[in-house]
């Protein structure tokens, strides 16, 4: 077994240890097939401003799907709709066969979500915050404590578990958010810029963890602006631009169809940001004035 595979295996083993008696959802059959997320003609608005225009896609079990797009394209909004945080205006969204927003609570049981902005209760300690999240998901106490200990040790936060979160660095807070998203061993993991603020070792660990979790049959929707990471770890890439899905396929397939050599080039071509030089020139000349 190669070194990378051994490391991935260890990460997953630590994370999943003592999981045996846990009910990871409601234990009932939802009757869903291979599609864990079905997004059909979804429209979403903030007030009168429509930000998603009839987007449709399906996510299959065990896939790692990259969600790309320029700032304000609608990536985080898409993730929040899947997480049951926002209600779409029209179209249909089903997660694990359950319609949203009607079954938002059942869906939330089945997903892990790492938000883009690290909102936490600052006066709680890392341990207290993770306990709170695990208990909300109904994880048995013994299992919960074992998982918290395992994850914190893996993330190198064991000695900081009793510190209040306001004393944590950005990277440490991000680790806590990732830990909170994984504690209940969800079927679908929604990651919105998960590597933000993480050091190199932690970023490698998370990338390995993502691959290992996908191998366990979990689906990962990974939103990021770091295109080389997306290119390396994702089986499939969705590109959203101005609220519309403009590309859906494997990184290789997209490169081939657009005749580009890297995903970054594909992104530039598809989102019409191929040439940034005039903009750079304008900024520099404005600074000179």
């Amino acid at each position: 077994m190669r070194c990378g595979q051994v490391r991935k295996r260890r990460v997953v083993e630590r994370f999943l240890e003592a999981e045996t008696d846990v009910n990871f959802g409601h234990g009932e059959s939802t009757g869903y097939n291979d599609a864990i997320v079905e997004f059909d003609q979804v429209v979403f608005s903030y007030g009168h401003v429509e930000v998603l225009h009839e987007i449709s896609f399906r996510l299959e079990r065990g896939q790692i799907v990259g969600l790309l797009g320029p700032n304000g394209a609608g990536k985080s909004t898409t993730i929040k709709i899947i997480a049951g945080i926002h209600a779409h205006r029209s179209g249909s969204v089903r997660v694990a066969g359950l319609p949203l927003p009607e079954c938002a609570i059942d869906v939330k049981q089945r997903i892990g979500y790492v938000p883009e902005a690290a909102m936490l209760f600052e006066t709680l300690t890392g341990q207290e915050f993770l306990e709170l999240c695990g208990r909300f998901h109904g994880v048995e106490e013994d299992t919960l404590q074992a998982r918290i200990a395992g994850i914190l040790e893996t993330f190198g936060l064991s000695s900081d578990r009793v510190l209040r979160l306001d004393a944590y660095s950005k990277g440490m807070r991000q680790k806590i958010l990732i830990a909170a998203a994984l504690l209940h061993n969800p079927d679908l993991i929604l990651l919105d810029e998960p590597l933000s603020g993480l050091d190199v070792n932690a970023a490698i660990l998370i990338k390995d963890l993502i691959a290992a979790l996908a191998a366990e049959g979990k689906t990962i929707l990974y939103s990021s602006h770091v295109l080389d990471v997306v290119e390396k770890i994702c089986d499939r890439v969705l590109i959203i631009h101005q609220g519309r899905l403009i590309a859906d396929g494997s990184a290789e397939g997209l490169k081939e169809s657009t005749k580009q050599t890297t995903l970054e080039d594909v992104f530039r071509v598809l989102t019409n940001s191929a040439n940034v030089d005039p903009g750079v020139g304008r900024i520099v000349s404005a600074l000179r004035s």
Partner: protein
């Protein structure tokens, strides 16, 4: 006790109401913990310490209210009715504001939005947390009246204190439920991004009801006597229908909070944040930049002007100013025709001091804001800019709260008094208000909008306002008896006040700039740097 309260029986009861018991207890513990650790206080209701202090103040208020009954011993129903009403009014003032904090700006719910929590469970936990306020304050108001009933009632009986405490607690509880239902109805009828703005108007209701209760009641009583004469069947039907209607309003209102509350949380918190805002450079800011200190002064002026209009936490802190402005308008309407130089006393004599009260309220509230976490940008500002920034903030407060209102007053009064009297009075009022502004600048304890709002401040507010009212009464008396005897005396005093305002403002601006730097930690850091340099 905790185990008993959270036993299977309670679990069954909660489940019958559609509440998930396990998550309900988790949320209750979380809210209590966060409130006691003083995190996001403004969104979770008062912490234990604040409640205890408020309770002691309410014990005093309850005792004070008893004094009126000592001379004319009432019957038991009269005493009970009077204190139920007092309890409802006092708690209404606090609970509508608390419910507003808690339900339409649920910042903490953003952290929990993706957790599997039913809207009903979350709302129930929030309401339970709010009812802590009733648990403390209703008995506090009624402790002395209940015990003193043995001396107050015309026919005392031994179990009256128990009935009194139970009935007034129920009145408090109903007030709490009504306050929550009110916001439930708002959520039912208004889109989530608009609810926060509408809630601010709703929070005015207790103040307005106290101000205009007398007039409304006199009109209502005369109408009731005509439509429902004594002993008529309509009165009986009305008496039966009223509680049923009230119960329906409360139940449907509270139910509206429970449905898809967690999905609307994001829209509620961000309010109209997605809306486009027209932003243009005002000519006033150009003048401020030219006269008061360049770009830093313009920054202070524009920053404060924009956030005063847009910051939700600041606007709701200043709700108290609205009744003040209404009463000032009423005063001017009633006494505006009387020339202050005629020797007769009128409400116009009080108006300059009302500006002082409004400026005081702004000064003690302006450092608190919803987006206090954005204050880090000031850490990057070179320390030399704070003097200019302070002048910009002062310029804005003077322009918006003194200059513009006086220009309006000038336009109105010029039709009522001789021109010279109008001009002299307006300049006098300007100088008084400017002096007040110079003084209250020292109360601005940091960068505007840079601190998290603290509910415990309200506890001391009543005492400060009572002291302020006494000081203003003395100032108005001196002004009427000593100054407004002749136009020359007024002109001389105005000159003196303007000079004093200039001196006071200059000193206060320096203190304000230091306060901003001190609160950012720059003062201590720079002091340390100087010390190290000397040492080296």
């Amino acid at each position: 006790m905790k185990r008993l309260l959270r036993g299977p029986a309670a679990e069954r009861m909660l489940a019958a109401a559609g509440i998930d018991a396990a998550r309900y207890w988790l949320l209750l513990d979380l809210f209590t913990e966060l409130a006691d650790r003083r995190e996001i206080l403004n969104h979770l209701g008062r912490d234990g310490v604040t409640l205890k202090i408020s309770s002691w103040m309410f014990v005093f208020v309850g005792g004070l209210a008893c004094v009126g009954f000592l001379r004319h011993p009432p019957s038991a129903p009269t005493l009970l009715g009077a204190f139920a009403l007092i309890t409802a009014l006092l708690l209404g003032c606090i609970l509508i504001s608390e419910a507003g904090n808690s339900l339409v700006n649920p910042v903490e719910a953003l952290v929990l939005a993706h957790q599997p929590i039913e809207g009903a469970t979350y709302t129930a936990a929030k309401l339970t947390h709010l009812l802590r306020v009733v648990g403390y304050l209703a008995p506090a108001v009624n402790a002395i009246p209940a015990l003193a009933s043995f001396w107050m009632l015309n026919q005392p009986f031994w179990y009256y204190p128990l009935i009194h405490l139970a009935a007034t607690y129920l009145a408090g509880l109903l007030t709490g439920l009504f306050a929550c239902a009110l916001f439930g109805w708002l959520l039912r009828f208004f889109p989530a991004p608009r609810v926060k703005s509408v809630a601010q108007i709703v929070e005015l209701l207790p103040f307005l009801s106290i101000m205009f209760a007398g007039q409304v009641w006199s009109v209502a009583a005369s109408r009731i006597a005509v439509w429902m004469p004594e002993g008529s069947a309509v009165r009986l039907y009305f008496a039966i229908a009223l509680p049923i209607l009230a119960a329906a309003i409360v139940v449907t209102g509270v139910r509206a909070l429970s449905g898809d509350y967690m999905i609307r949380v994001s829209g509620l918190v961000h309010g109209g944040g997605g809306g486009r805002v027209k932003s243009r450079r005002s000519p006033a800011s150009d003048i401020v930049a030219r006269r008061l200190g360049g770009p830093p002064a313009r920054a202070g002026f524009a920053y404060t002007a924009r956030l005063m209009r847009r910051d939700w936490a600041f606007r709701r802190q200043l709700i108290a100013i609205v009744p003040l402005m209404i009463s000032a308008g009423v005063m001017l309407g009633q006494g505006g025709a009387i020339d202050p130089f005629s020797g007769r006393f009128s409400a116009v004599h009080i108006v300059p001091h009302l500006f002082g009260v409004a400026l005081f309220l702004v000064a003690i509230s302006i450092v608190y804001g919803s987006d206090h976490k954005g204050a880090w940008v000031f850490l990057l500002a070179p320390s030399g800019v704070f003097a200019g920034f302070a002048r910009g903030v002062h310029g804005l407060l003077w322009f918006a709260m003194i200059g513009v209102p006086h220009a309006v007053l000038l336009g109105v009064l010029v039709w009522l008094w001789p021109l010279f009297h109008v001009l002299l009075w307006v300049v006098f009022s300007l100088s008084v208000a400017s002096l007040y502004l110079g003084m209250v600048l020292r109360l601005i304890d940091g960068i505007p909008f840079s601190k998290q709002p603290v509910t415990s401040r309200g506890v001391y507010f009543m005492g400060i306002m009572m002291g302020g009212a006494l000081a203003i009464s003395i100032a108005v008396g001196l002004q009427y008896w000593l100054v407004f005897r002749s136009v020359w005396m007024v002109a001389a005093v105005t000159g003196g006040l303007l000079a004093t305002a200039g001196v006071v403002t200059r000193a206060s601006l320096a203190a304000f700039a230091v306060a901003m730097r001190f609160n950012l930690g720059l003062e201590s850091a720079e002091t340390g740097t100087i010390y190290t340099e000397i040492e080296a």
